[in-house]
């Protein structure tokens, strides 16, 4: 075998000797930069984010915020005040003219009542051996000036006694017009030969007295309105310091279509603070209750509105509320005709109702005295747990007319503080410049670099919660002045991070 051929074989063998290998990628060293947070935080955002169901935020034309913490809506309808009363009896008409028992509750008078769905049936018994023509009327029941009257014919069939039952008669839209609740009936019975007689029996059956309009005096009556607790969360994040609201109110908005006076009387209104202390709302206005407006006899079908506040002018609500109110409990009753004056003639229809909306109204006109609020967020930083060092870059801009100091604490699962994130413990954001129109021109954004090295690295890696503590204080320009909080006020907060993996 020639040397050349051997060389060729050697070359081929070497070429075939490529070992199998596994491949693995080394850990990536490097520095990565990414944005974390970009938020423009306003009071409206914070309020809406709280997702408190009974909270309504209103912003007026001057951009001023008022919070409404709403209670349950209380409503009563006419059937609860003047229910239809069943009858369902046969009432004998014993004389050609006889009064009828009109079952109006004692103490009430009905002047006018328009039937709605009431039905009548008449029965006659005759022992006369002739046909009888009967004409029956209710003098107090009229429509369009005409008295209710109906004719019946008893057809003698040769039997000793003749019984006749009428068809069901609907007297809807016929109206009782009466004094002193008096109702009567009379009838005439004429034989075939023209003789006027008295029948053996005349009776009527009525299913129930139901009216779509009643006018009269309904007497004094009371009905409990459902007590309710209104939860207020504005102090939920309070840690310390003073937050004084200038003008808190307990607001009643009433719609009333009953045509008689109704007054709401207060059993008690109790304010409970965040520390569990309870205080009674007191004042002359509380003792007197609230009189609802009502439509007059010329305003049937209309709704009268009443808007009434318990505020600093008539109660002690201001001093109680600023004890850090957490909830308000109200126990009230509605009283109709509280004066019980029978000369007060009113009305109701089948659509009549009153509706009471109760709310704690909190205009955000307030004064701050080193108010400290806190909120805690769960956070998962395990996706960054390989880093060796990092640097946060925080850019903040204060659009409040008061100073804000921010602290950020890193907490473990149990809420224990691991470390403070910010150098010197906090960052101070000077208030913006308040304009005459209430707006704020913020100062230039403040950039804060926060290096994360050494012990702080371990703290960040073990962080499970972040507590943000904000301290608000009036600016030095107006240390004792109250400010309206406007919807445009807020803090622009941006946070980015550079994470360094080098040296892993």
């Amino acid at each position: 075998m020639s040397k050349s051929f051997i060389l060729l074989i050697v070359i081929l063998v070497c070429f075939s000797c490529v070992p199998e290998e596994k491949y693995k990628l080394a850990d990536i060293d490097g520095e990565f930069a990414i944005a974390l947070v970009d938020s423009d935080i306003t009071i409206v955002d914070l309020a809406e984010a709280s997702e408190q169901e009974n909270l309504e935020i209103r912003v007026d034309e001057e951009d001023r915020i008022t919070l409404f913490y709403k209670g349950d809506v209380v409503e009563q309808v006419s059937t609860q005040i003047f229910p239809p009363f069943p009858y369902g009896l046969y009432t004998d008409i014993t004389e050609n003219f006889s009064p009828i028992d009109f079952p109006v509750p004692e103490g009430r008078t009905v002047d006018i009542a328009v039937f709605d769905g009431t039905k009548l049936v008449f029965e006659f018994e005759s022992s006369f051996l002739q046909d009888v023509n009967v004409s029956l009327e209710f003098p107090e029941i009229k429509k369009d000036g005409e008295t209710w009257k109906m004719d019946f014919f008893i057809d003698y069939q040769g039997e000793p006694n003749t019984f006749y039952r009428s068809d069901t008669i609907d007297i809807t839209d016929w109206a009782i017009n009466t004094e002193d609740n008096f109702l009567s009936s009379n009838y005439t019975a004429i034989l075939e030969d023209g003789t006027s007689v008295t029948l053996d029996r005349v009776a009527f059956w009525l299913d129930f007295f139901d009216f779509d309009y009643v006018q009269g005096f309904f007497g004094g009556s009371s009905a409990p309105l459902v007590g309710d607790v209104i939860t207020i969360d504005v102090f939920n994040k309070w840690l310390s310091g003073g937050l004084t609201f200038d003008d808190p109110k307990f607001n009643f908005q009433v719609e009333n279509s009953f045509g008689f006076p109704v007054r709401m009387l207060v059993n008690e209104i109790v304010i409970t603070t965040i520390s569990g202390n309870q205080f009674q709302l007191e004042g002359e206005a509380v003792d007197e209750g609230v009189a609802f407006n009502f439509p007059s006899l010329d305003e049937v079908g209309e709704i009268a509105l009443t808007d009434f506040n318990y505020d600093n002018s008539n109660t002690n609500i201001g001093e109680l509320f600023n004890e850090k109110a957490a909830s308000v409990f109200y126990d009230v009753i509605g009283v109709a005709n509280s004066e019980s004056d029978p000369m007060v003639i009113g009305f109701l229809t089948d659509d009549s109702y009153y509706k009471i909306k109760v709310a704690v109204e909190l205009p955000l006109l307030c004064k701050l005295n080193d108010l400290k609020l806190t909120d805690t967020f769960d956070i998962d930083l395990t996706e960054f747990d390989d880093f060796k060092s990092a640097e946060f870059k925080m850019i903040t801009q204060n659009s409040f007319p008061f100073n804000v100091e921010l602290e950020i604490d890193m907490l473990d699962d149990n809420g224990n503080t691991l470390a403070k994130l910010l150098p010197d413990g906090s960052v101070f954001l000077t208030s913006g410049n308040l304009r005459a129109d209430g707006g704020v021109d913020p100062l230039d954004p403040l950039t804060t670099l926060v290096p994360i090295e050494d012990d702080l690295v371990d703290a960040v890696k073990n962080t499970k919660k972040i507590a943000v503590i904000s301290t608000f204080s009036n600016s030095e320009i107006a240390p004792d002045e109250s400010f309206w909080i406007r919807s445009s006020y807020g803090i622009d907060f941006k946070l980015g991070i550079k994470v360094n993996n080098e040296g892993n």
Binding site: S2, S4, F5, L8, I11, L12, C14, F15, V18, P19, E20, E21, K22, Y23, K24, L25, A26, I28, D29, G30, E31, F32, A33, I34, A35, L36, V37, D38, S39, I41, D45, L46, A49, S50, E51, D375, F377, D378, I379, D380, E383, K393, I395, F493, K494, L495, G496, I497, K498, N500, N501
Partner: protein
């Protein structure tokens, strides 16, 4: 359609016209030969910047790839290329002035190219690019296909012309139709902005569901599922001209054609401007869920998937050169090979010297400048025994012993039988 190219079968083959091969348009054989059967295999691994060995270390049978090792070797555009081809069967039938040919190939190739900024981003993170916009623009081309071909070459005096017509069936493909990705890292709080006009078309290779749920199926390359779809056509053209008995000029353009990928064709497209500015903390006040930055980032790049039939051009190769017989069994040749890989033009230039050592043994040596590498000393050898002829060559002899350590590794080997 995009155009990309690489050389097949190695440079050296063009200096061995005695070996009948598909891509030698005009093979030269003795007049006694009526029929030949041949086959050839070729593979290469090329990089214009660094080899796998230069960016990894080996411990036992584990190779640890460390991106930091190759950072100083980066160019503005970096390319890596792999090819493996098998000319399974090549038949030639010789008439007086006409040669008829037919055969079957199976071809696999892969190319990636990327700017250095993409590599730097992966190795060192994006903090180095704060306040800048960097173009990432990665490109990948992967293709595997079968070829059936028939052709001829025809001698007309000193000129010989030839052509092959090819019927192609694709196996799998991944093609970058558009490759624009720009990343800006803001210097405010490092907000990210991606501007993309990126589309990858694939048949049977890529399955993308999200950025961390990507499946690449390379096992489809090979002899799977021949001729059931993804059809295409191609043509090779070439000529030889004998200036004199000793000197011939040759030129060819090969693989003009395209494949229509219509089996499991899918387009993944991202087109738009995508910003990540961080989370809004208001969204997390009062709720149980923790802020998830990863979820926000994952949702950043939106990729649209659609079924798509698409066409991809086959890789075109242009070759021109000459070979001159110096006498005493010695000949000298040179050629230029024009290629385009993604957006980069690269021309390989090679010179070759051959010597018939024995009647049965011819050895050659070459020098090739290709792909930005200047250390390609190649060797080739042809062995004859009666009707059998075998050939082996490499463009870079040192790479044979350390394939992953050199930027140019190529080997081709083949043989023929003359009847």
């Amino acid at each position: 359609m995009s155009l990309y190219s690489f050389a097949q079968e190695g440079i050296a083959y063009h200096f061995y016209p005695e070996i009948p091969q598909q891509n030698i348009i005009n093979s030269i054989v003795d007049s006694a030969t009526k029929f030949s059967v041949s086959g050839m295999g070729y593979t290469h691994l090329l990089s214009n910047t660094f080899s796998l060995g230069e960016t990894s270390t080996v411990s036992g049978n584990e190779r640890l790839i460390d991106l930091d090792l190759a950072k100083d070797k980066l160019k503005d555009i970096n390319m890596q290329e792999f090819s493996a081809e098998l000319n399974v069967l090549h038949l030639e039938y010789y008439l007086k002035n006409l040669v008829l040919k037919a055969g079957y190939n199976q071809k696999n190739l892969a190319q990636v190219s990327y700017p250095k900024e993409l590599y730097q981003l992966m190795a060192d993170g994006n903090a180095q690019f704060i306040g800048q916009t960097v173009s990432l623009n990665p490109t990948a081309e992967i293709s595997s296909y079968h070829e059936l071909y028939g052709g001829f070459s025809w001698q007309m005096g000193k000129l010989r012309v030839g052509a092959n017509l090819k019927f192609i069936s694709g196996i799998a493909n991944l093609h970058t139709e558009r490759n624009a990705i720009a990343l800006t890292t803001s210097d405010e709080i490092y907000q990210l902005e991606f501007v993309t006009d990126y589309e990858v078309q694939t048949s049977g290779i890529l399955d993308y569901n999200s950025y961390d749920d990507v499946l690449l199926e390379f096992n489809r390359a090979g002899f799977n599922s021949p001729f059931i779809g993804n059809y295409g056509y191609g043509i090779d053209l070439g000529l030889d001209y004998f200036i004199s008995k000793e000197t011939r000029l040759f030129a060819s353009v090969q693989n003009i054609g395209s494949i229509k990928w219509d089996l499991r064709g899918t387009s993944y497209k991202s087109n738009g401007t995508f910003n990540y500015n961080g989370i809004d903390i208001i969204d997390y006040i009062g709720i149980v869920d923790e802020p998830s930055f990863r979820d926000s980032l994952e949702a950043l790049l939106q990729v649209e998937e659609t079924d798509l039939d698409y066409n991809v051009a086959t890789p075109v190769s242009l070759i021109a050169g000459f070979q001159h017989d110096l006498g005493n069994g010695l000949d000298f040749g040179a050629l230029i090979n024009a290629r385009r890989i993604s957006d980069v033009l690269d021309n390989a230039v090679a010179v070759n010297l051959r010597k018939e050592i024995k009647p049965w043994l011819t050895l050659g040596a070459s020098y090739t400048n290709r792909f930005g590498t200047y250390d390609n000393i190649g060797l080739s050898a042809m062995v004859e025994y009666r009707i059998f002829r075998a050939f082996i060559s490499t463009e870079n002899v040192l790479s044979v012993y350390d394939p992953l350590g050199k930027r140019n590794f190529s080997v081709s080997a083949g043989g023929s039988i003359r009847l």
